[in-house]
Symmetry: C2
Subunit: 167 residues, 2 copies
């Protein structure tokens, strides 16, 4: 290949990379069959890992990457479902979008959370969250400062501890 | 003051600081009169700066700080309202929660956005967004990497340019 052609090819590659970097990325909403009836965002897939008690669903809305540093998941807990105690090394913000649930920071009382509430969980703080026994809970979960780590899972909240909650 | 008392005082201060750092902060939702009828989050105050055309409202859900690095605003545009061209040095993510609107990245076609859509705006990309002529638009706006700068405002999109949009 001639030197001139090689330079031209290089120019094309650089321009394509530049275009892909400055492109906006709009994700259209998920089809209706993947959504709960009144929900704005998709319910996603049932979570199958061992860190949840009861059924919960996750739809990642924004994946983690080093450009935005802002992974966002839409999480739905069926009544009675909750996650294990865990820590977000970089912190977490929960935006509750429907239903009612519980949130507890280690060493503090359980608090009732519901549609419209915002929970700021400091980096390194141990907590768990989930639905109340009688209501589904849906929240957006934003991992803040994900460069510091997203999540470290710990032990389960027992049924005994969960059933003891009176709010 | 005795050295022992001083040490004790120091211990108390350290414990108080540790407790305040690990405290979760839950913001309860705003009262109903501050909300649009079906909205999950408060509509907030009318924006009075010069960078918007038409009426728009802003409720900050999470203020910027160096702990979370994740300012989040709830923005509502009345039909026909939009913001000026602007740049987010650290990028922005829009989560459209109701209505229909437009989003345009400089040099690219206008795109229609609606409830459930997610728009990722790369750091440094020039863009504008707002409602369609016939619909309100509400979105959550997350400033990503706010350490790099939140927003730099630029010129208005003229009525002529806005009215030319056919989508």
């Amino acid at each position: 290949m001639k030197k001139q052609n090689l330079l031209y090819l290089g120019f094309i590659i650089v321009m394509l990379l530049a275009a892909s970097c400055s492109n906006t990325e709009t994700q259209k909403k998920q089809p209706a069959e993947n959504k709960t009836s009144t929900a704005v965002f998709a319910k996603g897939e049932k979570i199958t890992n061992e860190y949840f008690t009861g059924s919960a669903w996750l739809q990642m809305l924004v994946e983690n990457d080093s450009l935005y540093n802002c992974p966002i998941g839409n999480v739905t807990f069926e009544p009675g479902a909750r996650n294990n105690w865990h820590v977000h090394p970089g912190g977490q913000i929960l935006l509750v979008t429907s239903g009612k649930g519980y949130h507890q920071l280690k060493g503090q009382p359980v608090e009732l959370i519901e549609s419209g509430d915002i929970v700021k969980v400091p980096p390194g703080a141990m907590h768990w969250h989930g639905a109340t026994p009688d209501s589904e809970l849906t929240h957006l979960a934003i991992s803040t400062n994900p460069q510091k780590g997203i999540v470290v899972w710990m032990e389960k909240l027992s049924d005994e501890e969960y059933n003891r909650i009176k709010l």
